[in-house]
C-alpha cells in the first residue's frame, strides 16, 4: 500500500530511468544476498551496539522494574520497605486512574494526585505534538523554499534560521519565560496584559510558540537538504512544459522532497511526543500543559517502579504512532523505494 502511495513513479527522473540494482553487482541473486548480508552485518554492527548499550538496556530494566510495587512505608519503623511483585497493577493503575486507598485497595485518583493526570497528560501531549509538528512543517517548508532560492542575503537568512536552534534549550526556556512574564517584553511590545502562564490557552500557546520557534530550523534544514538534491533541470523541463508554480510544487517538489520530509516529520513527532524541557520550565505543567514526560519526572520523585510503568506506557503509545506513520503514511525510508525490486523477495 505504501508502495503505491510512495513516490515510486518519481523515482524514474531521479535515477534517469535505469533500473535500480540492489547490490553493487548483480551476480546470482541468492549468493548476492548472502554476501551482502555479511557486509551489512559489519556495517550495521556499530550502530546496533551503541543503541543496545544506551537505549535497550535501560528500556529492559525499566520494563522489569515496572512489574514491581513501589516501596511502602512501614508504619512502625517509619522506614520504607520493598514493595514486591506488582503484576500488572502499575499499568492498570495508570490507565484506569486508580490510586491506593487509605484502607487498602484502590479508589479513583482524587484531583491532586499524579494518577489523576494520566489521560489529560496524554491528551496534552498529543495536542502539543499535532499543533507543533503541523506548524513546524508548514513554516519549515516555507523557510526551506525561500532559502533554496538565489538572492542577495541568502546566507544571512541561513545563518539566522540556525540561531533559534543553536541556543541551548536551558537558555531558550528561560528566555521565553522572561519574555512571557506579565511585566515582560511580550506583553509590553503588543500592549497586552495576558497572563501567559496563568490560564490554559495562553499557557499552551506559550509552549507552542517557544517550541515552534526553537525547532522549525530542524525541519527547514532537513527539507532544504532534500530540495537541494532535486536536479535543477527537472524544474526547467516542467517550466518549458508550462507547469504553474503550484503544479511544479505539487508534482515535482513535494514528491521528490517527500522522503526527507517524512523523516523530518517522523523524528519531530517522536521528539514532540517526549517533550519535556520547555513546558517544564515555562509552566511547570500547570494549566493543562503537563506532558507524559513531565508526568514521568514527577512520578520518578514519588516512586520509581510506577514511573517505569508510565515510561513503558509512553513508549507503547509512541510505538503505535510510529507504526501508523510507517505503515500508512509512507514514512518508511526503505520500503517506498522497493517497487523496482518487488519481484525479488
Amino acid at each position: 500500500m505504501a508502495t503505491e502511495l510512495g513516490p515510486t513513479p518519481v523515482k524514474e527522473p531521479a535515477s534517469g530511468g535505469t533500473p535500480i540494482h540492489h547490490g553493487p553487482k548483480g551476480v546470482g541473486e541468492d549468493n548476492a544476498i548472502a554476501s551482502q548480508g555479511k557486509w551489512a552485518a559489519w556495517l550495521l554492527a556499530p550502530t546496533i551496539v551503541a543503541l543496545a548499550i544506551v537505549i535497550v538496556y535501560p528500556i529492559i530494566s525499566a520494563i522489569v522494574m515496572s512489574f514491581q510495587k513501589d516501596a511502602g512505608l512501614d508504619p512502625v519503623t517509619g522506614l520504607f520497605t520493598e514493595g514486591g511483585p506488582a503484576g500488572l497493577s502499575n499499568y492498570t493503575n495508570w490507565i484506569f486512574q486508580q490510586c491506593a486507598a487509605p484502607g487498602g485497595g484502590t479508589v479513583a485518583c482524587p484531583p491532586g494526585t499524579l494518577g489523576s493526570q494520566f489521560w489529560s497528560a496524554t491528551g496534552t501531549t498529543f495536542y502539543f505534538t499535532i499543533v507543533t509538528v503541523t506548524l513546524e512543517t508548514i513554516l519549515g517548508f516555507w523557510m526551506a523554499i525561500i532559502m533554496a532560492r538565489t538572492f542577495r542575503g541568502r546566507s544571512l537568512v541561513r545563518a539566522a534560521v540556525l540561531v533559534p536552534w543553536a541556543i541551548p534549550t536551558a537558555v531558550t526556556a528561560q528566555l521565553w519565560l522572561f519574555i512571557f512574564a506579565f511585566e515582560g517584553i511580550g506583553n509590553k511590545l503588543f500592549n497586552t496584559t495576558i497572563l501567559w502562564t496563568g490560564s490554559e490557552n495562553p499557557a499552551r500557546w506559550a509552549v507552542i510558540i517557544a517550541d515552534t520557534w526553537k525547532t522549525t530550523p530542524f525541519m527547514a534544514l532537513l527539507i532544504l537538504a532534500g530540495l537541494q538534491m532535486i536536479p535543477a533541470d527537472v524544474y526547467e523541463a516542467a517550466k518549458v512544459d508550462g507547469a504553474s508554480a503550484w503544479q511544479r510544487f505539487r508534482m515535482i517538489t513535494l514528491p521528490l522532497v517527500k522522503p526527507a520530509l517524512m523523516v523530518a516529520i517522523l523524528f519531530r513527532t517522536l521528539d514532540a511526543l517526549r517533550m519535556f524541557d520547555l513546558p517544564y520550565i515555562l509552566t511547570e505543567g500547570s494549566n493543562n500543559t503537563t506532558t507524559l514526560s513531565i508526568l514521568v519526572v514527577n512520578q520518578l520523585r514519588q516512586g520509581f517502579n510506577s514511573a517505569a510503568a508510565l515510561s513503558t506506557i509512553t513508549f507503547i503509545i509512541i510505538f503505535i504512532v510510529a507504526f501508523i506513520f510507517v505503515r500508512f503514511l509512507g514514512a518508511n525510508v526503505v520500503e517506498q523505494q522497493t517497487g523496482a525490486g518487488k519481484g525479488k523477495k
Partner: protein
C-alpha cells in the same frame, strides 16, 4: 508482503523483558540497618555535597577545615542551583550507594524522605550532636520520628515587605492588611502578593495561610488534617483576596523573582518574600522602593502569622566510610564562627538563636530581628516522607481554588484525599 515486520524487534524487546521480570530485581530496598552500623569510627577524607554556593562561602570554610585537618580533608562537590536537580542527584547517588557522597546538604523538606529511605545516618549515640542553641523549628524540620537525621545549617522564613511611605505602621493581622488595601487603590497599585504560580512556592504560601489561621496541613502523626475550619479560613483568605482583587490578577504567575520585580517597580503595597529580597530591593539601580522599604512579620489572626520554614540541613550518608570525620565536620559548620561567616558573607540566616540578637550582625543585616520573629513562629512545611506527593497535592488544589475553578471546601477535601492516598502506599 506488507506485514508490520518493520517494528517487530521493539515488541520482541518487550517480550524479553516480560520473561526477565519473573526473576525480580529492580527497586531500591532498604538495608539501612547494616549500612548505618558501619564506618562510625572511620576517619579520613570526605566529600561535602551542596547546591550552588551563591556567595562563595563554602570554599573558605572548607579551606579552613582542611588546614586544621590535613588527614581528613573535605572535597566540595557543588550541585546546580535548582532544588529539583539537587534532589534528583542525591537520590541517584544514594540509590547507587555511592560512598563518596559523605556529607550532604538537604533542603528542609527532604529530610523525612531521605531518613525513611534509610539513606541518612541517625545522629544519635556516637553520632549525637548538641542542638540546644539552635532555633527549635529548624531542629524539628531536621528530625523524623523523634530522631535527628541532619543538623540545621541555614534557615529562611517569609517576611512582609511594605511601603513605609504609604503605610506608617505595618498591619499585624490579615484583616488589618486587607483593610489597608484602600490605600493601594488610591495609589493605583496592587495591594498584596506572595507566590501563587503553581510550583513549590505555592505550597509555601498555602501552608503559611493555613498555619497563620491556626490550621495545619498534617497533624502530629503525619496524617492530613485539612477538613478543618482553620484550614478553610486560611485558604479562604487567599481565595477571597484574589477574587476581590486585593491580590492582583498577575499574582498567579508570580514566583519569587516576578513578585520582587513588581514590588521593586512600586506596583505592590505589601509583598511576601524571603530575606534575599532585602539587599536587592535596597541596592539595585532599578529599584523604586530603595528608601521606602519597610519590613514586618507576616500577619496572622491576632498577631504575627506563621511563616513557612525554608533553609537547609546537613546530614551524613549511611554509605559513608568516614562518619567520625563527617560528624566533626557537621559540628564545624554549625559553630558560631562559621554561622556568623555564613550570615555576613552569604546573607544566610543563621540557625543559632543567639546570633539574631548580635548587635554587629544586626547592623549588617537589619532584617534579622523581624526574621527571628518569623522563624520562631515558623511551622516546618509538612514533615513527611511523602513530601513530593504532598506538595503536588497542595499545589494542584490550591491553584484551582485561587483561580476560582474550585470551592475552598472541594480543594481542601481533594488535598486531604490525595495526601491520604499518597501515604497509603499500596
Amino acid at each position: 508482503m506488507k506485514t508490520p515486520k518493520f517494528l517487530l524487534p521493539v515488541a520482541a524487546a518487550g517480550v524479553l523483558a516480560l520473561t526477565l521480570s519473573a526473576c525480580g530485581g529492580g527497586g531500591g530496598g532498604t538495608t539501612a540497618g547494616a549500612d548505618a552500623e558501619q564506618g562510625l569510627d572511620g576517619r579520613g577524607p570526605i566529600t561535602y555535597v551542596q547546591g550552588k554556593d551563591n556567595n562563595n562561602v563554602v570554599r573558605p570554610v572548607i579551606e579552613k577545615w582542611n588546614a586544621a585537618h590535613p588527614n581528613e580533608k573535605v572535597t566540595f562537590k557543588e550541585q546546580t542551583d535548582q532544588a529539583d536537580q539537587q534532589h534528583d542527584d542525591l537520590v541517584q547517588n544514594f540509590q547507587a550507594k555511592n560512598a563518596n557522597y559523605d556529607v550532604v546538604s538537604v533542603d528542609v523538606v527532604w529530610t523525612a524522605e531521605f531518613a525513611a529511605k534509610g539513606w541518612l545516618q541517625p545522629l544519635k549515640d556516637k553520632m549525637a550532636l548538641d542542638t540546644s542553641a539552635m532555633l527549635k523549628p529548624t531542629v524539628d524540620a531536621a528530625s523524623y520520628k523523634g530522631t535527628l537525621y541532619a543538623v540545621p545549617k541555614d534557615s529562611d522564613g517569609g517576611m512582609l515587605y511594605y511601603r513605609k511611605d504609604l503605610v506608617p505602621t505595618p498591619p499585624k493581622t490579615w484583616d488589618e492588611m486587607m483593610s489597608m488595601c484602600s490605600i493601594a487603590k488610591e495609589n493605583n497599585i496592587g495591594c498584596f502578593a506572595g507566590q501563587y504560580s503553581k510550583y513549590e512556592g505555592l505550597t509555601v504560601n498555602t501552608a503559611e495561610a493555613i498555619n497563620s489561621t491556626g490550621g495545619s496541613v498534617l497533624d502530629a502523626d503525619g496524617k492530613p488534617n485539612l477538613n478543618t475550619p482553620e484550614a478553610k479560613a486560611g485558604l479562604g483568605n487567599l481565595v477571597t483576596a484574589y477574587a476581590n482583587g486585593n491580590i492582583p490578577k498577575e499574582g498567579i504567575t508570580f514566583q519569587e523573582e516576578q513578585g520582587r520585580q513588581a514590588f521593586q517597580d512600586g506596583k505592590l503595597l505589601f509583598h511576601r518574600n524571603w530575606p534575599y529580597m532585602y539587599s536587592l530591593a535596597t541596592t539595585e539601580g532599578s529599584s523604586k522602593v530603595k528608601d521606602v522599604l519597610g519590613l514586618a512579620a507576616l500577619p496572622g489572626i491576632d498577631g504575627p502569622g506563621a511563616s513557612t520554614l525554608g533553609g537547609h540541613s546537613v546530614g551524613v550518608s549511611v554509605y559513608s566510610k568516614n562518619k567520625a570525620t563527617a560528624v566533626d565536620f557537621l559540628k564545624f559548620i554549625t559553630t558560631e564562627e562559621t554561622q556568623r561567616f555564613y550570615a555576613t558573607q552569604g546573607s544566610l540566616a543563621p540557625v543559632l538563636s543567639a546570633l539574631y540578637d548580635d548587635q554587629e550582625l544586626v547592623a549588617k543585616l537589619p532584617y534579622l530581628p523581624v526574621l527571628k520573629t518569623s522563624i520562631e513562629n515558623a511551622v516546618p512545611r509538612p514533615v513527611t516522607p511523602f513530601y513530593p506527593a504532598v506538595t503536588k497535592a497542595i499545589q494542584e488544589n490550591a491553584y484551582a481554588a485561587i483561580k476560582g475553578e474550585k470551592t475552598v471546601d472541594a480543594a481542601l477535601s481533594d488535598m486531604q484525599k490525595s495526601i491520604e492516598s499518597a501515604s497509603a502506599g499500596q
